[in-house]
Structures are given as structure tokens and as C-alpha cells.
């Protein structure tokens, strides 16, 4: 469960302060698939970064499974992200010098899994996203859709409590987007909590709950 209370985030640009999040209150239960939508600049990605501990809010509270995650030190947050959270970025964010298998194995190795086990688990998750034949390909040898699937495999291989996805289909064609969303759907059906930012109405419908954001505030929160 993730609980956000009165979350604010503002950016300082010289004398000027821009308030991007203006007091967000939000609760997502375990196993929920939430889509956050809104026009460009509405603050949806900023909200995702705060919840996923990639950034620090100006004020407010974030609790994940009752744990006040904003009270954690930098090192503890890194460790928390490793053990509890998974990320799928818009531009895949794969490491170019590593094969698909190695990219997926990294977080597992950091969790001190023996190399053999880490690679076996990475291979298993790559197979799960349909890339069992592309284990030893570098990102440059994969299509955009395939790279995003590697990114999903990396995000779920260590079995995170929450999977965050920031515009996961923004750089993909329709077919690849559909494959990615089908994977999300399957993960959700298996009980994975997913919080996804998207601006595409078609793919927001894969979620069970859609939150609309505008001008840094939640304007609607509805179940599909």
C-alpha cells in the first residue's frame, strides 16, 4: 500500500518559484493498477518521481506499507528502491554496454544473489516478456518494443512491491505498445501493484483506476 498526504513539490528558478504539485492526497492499495493521466505539465511524472523515491518532495508525507519513506537516508532509500520498487522508464533506460540478460541481472546481483541464480532468474523473466531468444543481445541490437520489455523484465525480476512506469508506451508503435500493456495486464492479474503515468487514453484503460491531474492537483479519481 502507498499513501501520499498533502504532497507538494516546487522548483526554484532564481527568484521564481514554480509549484508543480499542490497538495496531493492519494492512496493505492496493494495489487491495484493505477493510471495517472493529465496534459503535459500537469505534474504526473513529478508525482511518480516523488512516490518512487527518485526525488524528494518539498513537503508532505509518503508511506509505503506504513513506512515513512521520506525519513530514510539516501543510502536507505537506495536500498529500499532495490528491494521494494521497480521502474519502467519512457526511454527504457537500459545500460548500453550490457546484454539484455545482464541488464536484468543487475538488481538481482546487487541483492547479493549468486551470479548463476541471478542469471537464471533474469533469463526466466526475459522469457516471461517474450525475449527468451534475445538474452545475449545488446540494447542496440533490439527494437524499441523489445528494449521496453527488457526494461519491464528488469523492473519485475526482483519481485518489487510496487512497479512504477513512466509513459512506458510513449516511444513505441501500436503493436509494441499493445504487447507492453498486455504484460502489465498479466502482471496485475498476478497481483502486482502498478502505478503508471500515461497520456494515452487507450492504454489507461488497462488500469483499474484512473487519476486525472491538472495544474498540480488531482481533478478526478475514478475506477474503470
Amino acid at each position: 500500500m502507498i499513501e501520499v498526504k498533502n504532497l507538494k513539490k516546487s522548483f526554484q528558478d532564481g527568484e521564481k518559484t514554480t509549484e508543480v504539485l499542490k497538495g496531493i492526497d492519494f492512496l493505492a492499495k496493494s495489487g491495484e493498477f493505477v493510471a495517472i493521466m493529465g496534459r503535459s505539465g500537469a505534474g504526473k511524472s513529478t508525482l511518480l518521481y516523488q512516490m518512487s523515491l527518485l526525488d524528494e518532495p518539498t513537503s508532505g508525507d509518503i508511506k509505503i506499507d506504513e513506512k515513512d519513506v521520506l525519513a530514510l537516508s539516501t543510502a536507505e532509500r537506495t536500498s529500499f528502491r532495490l528491494s521494494q520498487l521497480g521502474y519502467v522508464f519512457q526511454d527504457y533506460a537500459l545500460l548500453p554496454e550490457m546484454t539484455a540478460l545482464e541488464n536484468v541481472a543487475i538488481p538481482l546481483l546487487m541483492q547479493n544473489l549468486p551470479e548463476k541464480k541471478a542469471y537464471a532468474k533474469a533469463a526466466e523473466h526475459l522469457t516471461l516478456v517474450g525475449l527468451g531468444e534475445r538474452l545475449n543481445n545488446l540494447p542496440s541490437q533490439l527494437s524499441g518494443g523489445e528494449q521496453q520489455r527488457v526494461s519491464i523484465a528488469r523492473a519485475i525480476a526482483h519481485e518489487p512491491k510496487i512497479l512504477f512506469a513512466d509513459e512506458p508506451t510513449a516511444n513505441l508503435d501500436n503493436e509494441s505498445s499493445r504487447i507492453v500493456m498486455d504484460i502489465f495486464k498479466k502482471l496485475h492479474s498476478e497481483g502486482q501493484t502498478i502505478i503508471m503515468v500515461t497520456h494515452e487514453v487507450e492504454y489507461s484503460k488497462f488500469a483499474e483506476r484512473i487519476i486525472h491531474l491538472d495544474n498540480g492537483q488531482i481533478t478526478s479519481d475514478e475506477r474503470v
Binding site: E97, M110, L138
Partner: protein, 418 residues
């Protein structure tokens, strides 16, 4: 920071970065490290080798491994025949040569001098009475003959003249020193020793980078002995060549235990070095180290720039690594290991080139300096110390830029924000 997990992860990241980085860039960095290594070792090695060449020449061609010489308050070594017997009885001794020495003068052109007011062409010199066979066996002196021939037993009234006593080899003047003019093998000169004058023929000219040879006059020992009236066979110097692998200090100590030091100075070739030589070695070594340290700074800057550019261009990926939960220390260690790898490769290539080629080649083909045959002195202990220095400097130079980039905000790194 250096937990086994972080090291394991750092190694994993570093291995993949190196393996998939541009081959030419890797070669270039290793090349820089290789030259830095050479700069560290070779500059000071040649400076020290400049003197070591001179020291080696004196050892090989004059003092040999152990030298016995007269005490400061004596004009010769008392009981020389007995000492020579002791020396010959030692199993460590390969060969030995005994010399008589006396100061005197040599005069040239005395036959062509037209009147007494004309300044005579006289040079002061040290005279050495030698057994030509024994001397050559120990010091290989005959290889320095540049004109004429070497002495043979029975060469009475014949001398070998050091090249610095010959004007044509002595192309500079300094006060108080005179060289002989118009001389060559076959020419007669007049020598004066202990008030005894004798006309002798120059049999050969010796030119070496050992002053005792190039400024000395060599003649048959029995003749010098008779001129200086040394009928007791007491000599002035005994040079002892030891069997290969023998420590000269061991033989020196044996001779001392036999009481030789009561009547003579017993020294290894190192003991016999003048203090100024030892001071010069220390000075040159310091100078070499100072010059080398500049190379070390250059290497540090190179590695700093390489790692900084690498880390800056990979800032987004560093951010992603942090984002997915990779420990900052593991990322920093990956850069430290990369720096270590470059320094290690450069040093290994450097070691191969240094000990496989450079050092043996320079020993076989010394640099022809005016006062010595310069070699490359690179003792393994000193080289290892320098490699250690290079490693430490490189690791620090690799860590600092990595730390600067890794410490940046994770999200800023991922999004490429400043």
C-alpha cells in the same frame, strides 16, 4: 564502502564497461600509462645509470670486486707476498693482480728542444708497475688500447700511456695540467721516478672512461720495482676478482679476519667509492624522482580527465543505476577498478618492455656519455615501489571524478538536468 558486495558489483560494472568500450580509447589510455611508467622508472634510472656506468667501469677495469691498498700513513702494503698468498688461497677468488705505484713525470720532445729557456713538455702522472697478463685477466685493460699494442712480459723500457696525457686526446686545458705533444707509439719519452731518469718507448695509448687508466702510465712491474728500489716485493695495490655470485663483503671480511686490515686497507668496490660519488647518486636519484613526479601528475590528470569524461557522458546511466537501487559505492568502485585496470595494463606492458628489452639493450649498448657509459638502473624493488605509486595516484585520480558525478541528484542525472 568496500564491502564484498560493492566490490563484486563494481567489478561486474567495470568489466562490462571496459569490455565494451572503444578498443582504440583503451589502447590510448594504456599507452599513456605505459609511458608514464617508463617516465617514472627510466628517467631516474638513466640519471642514476649515468653514475652507475662510471662505477661499474671503475669496478670492472680498476678496483675489481675487492681492493687492498696501502694504509694512509704507509707508502706500500707491508707483507705483500704473505697477503697475496692469503688471497690466492681463498676459494672465492677467481684472479688477482698486484700493482706497484709511484708518482713521477714523463717528458716528450726533449730531443727537439733547442735551448734551456724553452719550457719542457713534461706531464705529471701516476706510474703503475703491472704484470700485464694478470692485470689483463682481472681488469681487461688491453681493450682500451687505441693506438699501438698492449704490453707483454719482458717489455722492458716500454710503457703504455693514458690518453689524457696525450695532447691530441686531451682537447681542453685546465690550469696545472700538461699533456704531451707529438707523441705516438714508437716515440721515445723520458720518465723520471724517484729522481731516476729513464728513456722509454711508448708501446701503446690507453683510452678509457676510468681516470686511473686514462691518466696513468703502465709498465712492467719488475722494471718499476727496480726503478723505485722496492726489493721487498711489497706492492701498493691488489685488485681481486671474485668468482661470479660471490659477495665482495664476505671476502673483505675474511681478509680482515686474517689480519690483512692491520697492514692495508681492505675494501669492496663499494667501500672504495669516493663519498662524492655516493652523494651524486643520491642527488641524481632525487632529481630523477622529481622529474618522475611530474610524469605522475600528468598521468593523474590524464586519468582524471578520461574518467571524468567517461562519467559525465554516462551520467544518465549512473543515474539509472542509482535509480534501480545500485549502491553509490559500487558505482564508484567500478570507476576505481577501471583506473586500476588501465594503470595495471600500462605497468605490465612497461615491465615487459623495461626488463625484456630496454634494460638488457642498454646494458649491451650503453649511452656514450663523455665520462661514463650510461646504463639503465632499474632495481626491481624501486620499480615495484613506483608501480605502487602509479596505482595509488591513478586510483585517486579515477575516484574523484567518479565521486563528483555519482553524488549528483539521481533524478537530475536520469533526466539530464543540471
Amino acid at each position: 564502502m568496500f564491502s564484498s558486495l560493492n566490490i563484486r558489483m563494481g567489478l561486474f560494472l567495470a568489466r562490462r564497461q571496459i569490455r565494451r568500450s572503444s578498443l582504440w580509447t583503451t589502447i590510448l589510455i594504456i599507452f599513456v600509462m605505459f609511458f608514464t611508467f617508463l617516465n617514472l622508472v627510466v628517467v631516474s634510472g638513466i640519471l642514476v645509470g649515468l653514475l652507475q656506468g662510471a662505477i661499474n667501469a671503475v669496478r670492472t677495469h680498476y678496483t675489481s670486486d675487492v681492493i687492498i691498498s696501502s694504509l694512509n700513513n704507509k707508502t706500500y702494503i707491508e707483507n705483500s707476498p704473505e697477503i697475496i698468498s692469503i688471497v690466492k688461497s681463498l676459494p672465492q677468488v677467481e684472479n688477482m693482480t698486484a700493482r706497484y705505484m709511484e708518482g713521477g713525470t714523463v717528458e716528450a720532445n726533449y730531443k727537439t728542444r733547442t735551448n734551456d729557456k724553452e719550457k719542457p713538455n713534461i706531464a705529471a702522472a701516476s706510474f703503475y708497475g703491472i704484470n700485464p697478463v694478470a692485470e689483463n685477466t682481472v681488469t681487461d685493460i688491453s681493450k682500451f688500447i687505441v693506438e699501438g699494442e698492449y704490453l707483454v712480459p719482458g717489455d722492458y723500457d716500454k710503457i703504455l700511456l693514458g690518453a689524457y696525457l696525450d695532447k691530441k686526446y686531451m682537447d681542453f686545458d685546465y690550469p696545472g695540467f700538461t699533456a704531451l705533444e707529438n707523441i705516438k707509439p714508437g716515440v721515445k719519452v723520458r720518465m723520471t721516478l724517484n729522481g731516476v731518469e729513464r728513456e722509454v718507448t711508448i708501446k701503446g695509448i690507453l683510452k678509457a672512461k676510468v681516470d686511473q687508466i686514462s691518466m696513468g702510465v703502465f709498465m712492467i712491474d719488475s722494471q718499476l720495482r727496480s726503478i723505485i728500489d722496492r726489493n721487498d716485493y711489497n706492492v701498493d695495490e691488489i685488485s681481486i676478482k671474485l668468482k661470479p655470485g660471490t659477495d665482495p663483503a664476505v671476502v673483505r671480511d675474511i681478509l680482515k679476519r686474517n689480519g690483512v686490515d692491520k697492514v692495508a686497507k681492505v675494501q669492496t668496490y663499494i667501500d672504495a667509492q669516493p663519498k662524492f660519488i655516493k652523494d651524486m647518486i643520491a642527488t641524481f636519484s632525487l632529481l630523477g624522482n622529481m622529474l618522475s613526479s611530474i610524469g605522475l601528475v600528468v598521468a593523474s590528470i590524464t586519468i582524471f580527465i578520461v574518467i571524468f569524461i567517461n562519467a559525465i557522458t554516462r551520467r544518465k546511466f549512473i543515474g539509472i543505476l542509482k535509480g534501480i537501487g545500485i549502491n553509490e559505492s559500487a558505482i564508484e568502485i567500478s570507476y576505481i577498478l577501471q583506473s586500476f585496470f588501465y594503470a595495471l595494463c600500462g605497468s605490465v606492458v612497461g615491465l615487459i618492455v623495461l626488463y625484456g628489452f630496454l634494460e638488457p639493450w642498454m646494458t649491451a649498448h650503453p649511452i656514450d656519455f663523455s665520462f661514463s657509459d650510461g646504463i639503465l638502473v632499474a632495481p626491481i624493488g624501486g620499480t615495484m615501489l613506483r608501480i605502487g605509486l602509479l596505482m595509488v595516484t591513478t586510483i585517486i585520480a579515477g575516484f574523484i571524478p567518479a565521486r563528483l558525478v555519482v553524488r549528483k541528484n539521481t533524478l537530475d542525472s536520469i533526466l539530464g538536468r543540471n
